[in-house]
Amino acid sequence: MFKTIKEVLRTGNATVKYPFAPLERPQDVRGKPEHNHVKCMVCSACAVACPPNAIQTPLDMREGTKTWSINYGRCVFCGRCEEVCPSKAIRLGTEFELAVMTKEDMEELCVYHLQACTQCGSHFAPAKQVAYVARILAQGKDTNTAAQKLEYAKVCPKCKQKYDVQRLMEQSKEEGEWLC
């Protein structure tokens, strides 16, 4: 009994003020995944890595959109998405109070446009990814200007294939060789 009383006195008050005062948490705690829609280019790497499929990126070819969506009700706060994202567009913050009144509010989404091919008009990749590729190409040292490269990037793989074959044939005609 004496020991118990001593222990109680030694400990003092253990209660914290939360929820009336914010709860202190370590900085690198894994809370709510925060998505930066500007940096994101809907590459879907996070959707592939996400163990419970909380992140999904459905395509709508007719509308020409790709939607990045997250369901916080499914998320297990593992942080795989943060780890695999190539453009650092997702980061697990420290927020953990995620209760909402309706289930639908658990979901957040962000719709991105797909690039329409300048030749055939079909949608083939998210516009942001195309711009990203063009930016990378622009850093290469060759004779084409950045604008030309962007134009080239906006062509879908099928048309590119056709275009390449045509060019090769023209070239080989000029050089007098048959390639087939």
């Binding site: 222990e7 030694r10 400990t11 948490r25 370590p26 705690v29 894994r30 163990p51 419970p52 297990v76």
Partner: protein, 577 residues
């Protein structure tokens, strides 16, 4: 043959071959210390018995596998942990024909296999010839006949069949040897923790003559889910959710099955980090159980203090891993988060605080006369029973057996430190509690030692490839005993088969014997002492077998009786009798 040339586990193979020359059809190694003996179906039970009783084997798990798409048959893997000379894992593999589905049960020779065999009967529809207990284990009473969940061709993992009956037809068994007993059911629903169970105590007056129980009310079908929906590299996150307490132990065990089977090298630093976190997990788990022991022996102040201190170990885990629970740290090939210098310092400081705090509390607990009275000589786990059923963790270490996977089959950081298992000889609730107390203190020093010696270097190995259909076992010593996993990757980025055995699975079968000879007021104490994710009885119905009269007791009544041992809730019902 020269001794030096013997591979790990080969002495067991030689001995088996000598005793049963016809039984051994083939021998292979699935990993360094894991030998697989292919046996003829008929002699498999004898072989398992030989390895178990004559070669110091302990039964770990029985894995059933539907290998019809691979070789046209089912296969059973009896995994034994060899703990005498030549420690290793010995797996006895038996093939079961797909048409008859029959195999010979080993349950009459080795009681420990009974749950495993009952489970493969339920899950794969195999028939164990000569099994000692024919009842369902996992499937509910209202499950359709002939629907075997883990067969590859039966059902989608999302399928929820319509219940076929409203009647509970599970038969509870008892051996009461002529005693006139009253049945006291505890459970099955409204359970405070995550393992609902239905207990039936067969009592005479206050004394428990026998007990039976039933688990698996909330079977989550995780193995099926992992095999059909998840990719093999996302399963660690699912494995972590098997248990809310020892989740990390499960995820380590799972990733190590793959690492062992595929011979993936794990960086040293990652191995140390895994052990450090495993021990951190033990800290909070043991404090939880010590808190509950206080609670059930009527010492609620102690309970609150244990939980107050436990919060520190949770904060420690949060700082090291980024989450209080489900640390999400493991990937195949290593870990995802390093321990930084300032985190190391903070950890060492926290360990000191924990050491002082818990020392005070333990002194307090052990000097509480009530505690000793309630735990000494209660819930005896007899050594013979223990040997027959292969329980694990503090439950068996409290009965004098030095079974601790960390030191018997060292893995990860444990390979680099010297310790020996902590045991107690008293076989009772007190023994098990003392083991936990000592292990808690030991964990503190292990974490300190590992932190000091952690080598530098990478923490994740990402350059590896995998070959389908290789399998291996891996185990970790979770706070409650060994968590053992077995996995085989398929050729489609999925687990072909994943079997996870949680520690308490091995501790349930012998519990019946621990109940016998105690009083009802000790029941909660005894269940608590194996430290299951404690399932508490919300309602207790007392049924007089003869008059079929029933009295329903509330949880509070039962719990308060367990704590005060006054005003027996049964007194009224004895009046009815």
């Amino acid at each position: 043959m020269n001794d030096k040339e013997l591979r790990s586990g080969e002495t067991h193979v030689l001995s088996a071959k000598e005793r049963f020359p016809e039984a051994v059809r083939g021998v292979s190694w699935s990993a360094d210390n894991q030998v697989v003996i292919e046996s003829t179906p008929k002699q498999a039970p004898e072989l398992v018995e030989h390895l178990y009783y004559e070669r110091d084997g302990w039964f770990s798990v029985l894995v059933g596998n539907d290998e019809r798409p691979l070789n046209g048959r089912y296969a059973l893997y009896y995994v034994l942990s060899m703990e005498g000379a030549d420690p290793c894992f010995c797996t006895v593999r038996v093939e079961v024909p797909a048409d008859s589905c029959e195999f010979y049960s080993a349950s009459s020779r080795v009681p420990a296999v009974i749950w495993g065999e009952r489970e493969v009967q339920d899950m794969f529809g195999l028939k164990a010839l000569g099994i000692t207990d024919r009842r369902n284990l996992v499937l509910p009473d209202d499950w359709p006949e002939g629907l075997y969940p883990l067969r590859k061709d039966t059902m989608d993992y999302r399928h929820r069949p319509e219940p076929t009956t409203d009647v509970e037809n599970y038969e509870f068994l008892y051996e009461t040897a002529g005693h006139d007993t009253t049945v006291m059911p505890m459970g099955p629903l409204h359970i405070t923790s995550d393992e609902p169970g239905h207990f039936r105590l067969f009592v005479e007056g206050e004394d428990i003559i026998d007990a039976d129980y039933r688990m698996f009310y909330v079977h989550r079908g995780m193995e099926k889910c992992a095999e059909s929906r998840m990719n093999y590299d996302t399963v660690p996150f699912l494995a972590e959710r098997i248990c809310g307490i020892c989740g990390f132990a499960h995820s380590v065990a799972y990733v190590e099955t793959i690492e062992k089977a595929q011979q993936i090298e794990v960086p040293l630093r990652a191995q140390y980090i895994r052990s450090i976190i495993l021990e951190t997990e033990r800290l909070h788990s043991h404090l939880l159980n010590l808190g509950l022991v206080c609670h059930f022996s009527g010492f609620d102040t102690g309970f609150h203090h244990m939980f107050r201190v436990r919060e520190k170990s949770m904060d420690l885990a949060e700082m090291l891993t980024g989450a209080r629970k489900t640390y999400g740290l493991n990937l195949i090939g290593g870990v995802r988060r390093d321990i930084l210098a300032e985190q190391k310092l903070a950890t060492l400081k926290c360990l000191d605080e924990l050491r002082t705090d818990v020392k005070h509390l333990v002194d307090e607990l052990l000097s509480t006369p009530h505690f000793l009275k309630r735990t000494e000589g209660i819930g005896i786990l007899d050594k013979g029973v223990a040997r027959d059923y292969s329980p694990v963790g503090p439950t068996i270490r409290g009965s004098g057996f030095a079974r601790d996977a960390r030191w018997l089959h060292p893995y990860d950081g444990y390979k680099f430190i010297e310790r020996s298992p902590i045991t107690q000889e008293s076989c009772d609730v007190k023994g098990r509690t003392l083991v936990r107390i000592d292990e808690f203190m030991d964990s503190l020093s292990i974490i300190g030692e590992l932190l000091e010696n952690t080598p530098g270097g990478p923490i994740l190995n990402e350059s590896w490839s995998h070959e389908p259909h290789r399998f291996a076992v891996a185990l970790t010593e979770a706070p409650r005993g060994e968590d053992l996993h077995w996995s085989m990757i398929g050729d489609n980025q999925k687990c072909y088969r994943w079997r996870a055995k949680a520690s308490t699975y091995s501790n349930w079968p012998p519990l019946r014997y621990m109940f016998r000879g105690n009083t009802i007021s000790d029941a909660a104490m005894i269940v608590g002492s194996i430290d299951p994710c404690y399932s508490c009885a919300e309602r207790v119905a007392v049924i007089d077998v003869k008059s079929k009269k029933q009295q329903v007791l509330s949880r509070q009544q039962l719990e308060s009786y367990c704590r005060n041992r006054k005003h027996s809730p049964l007194e009224k019902s004895t009046v009815i009798i």
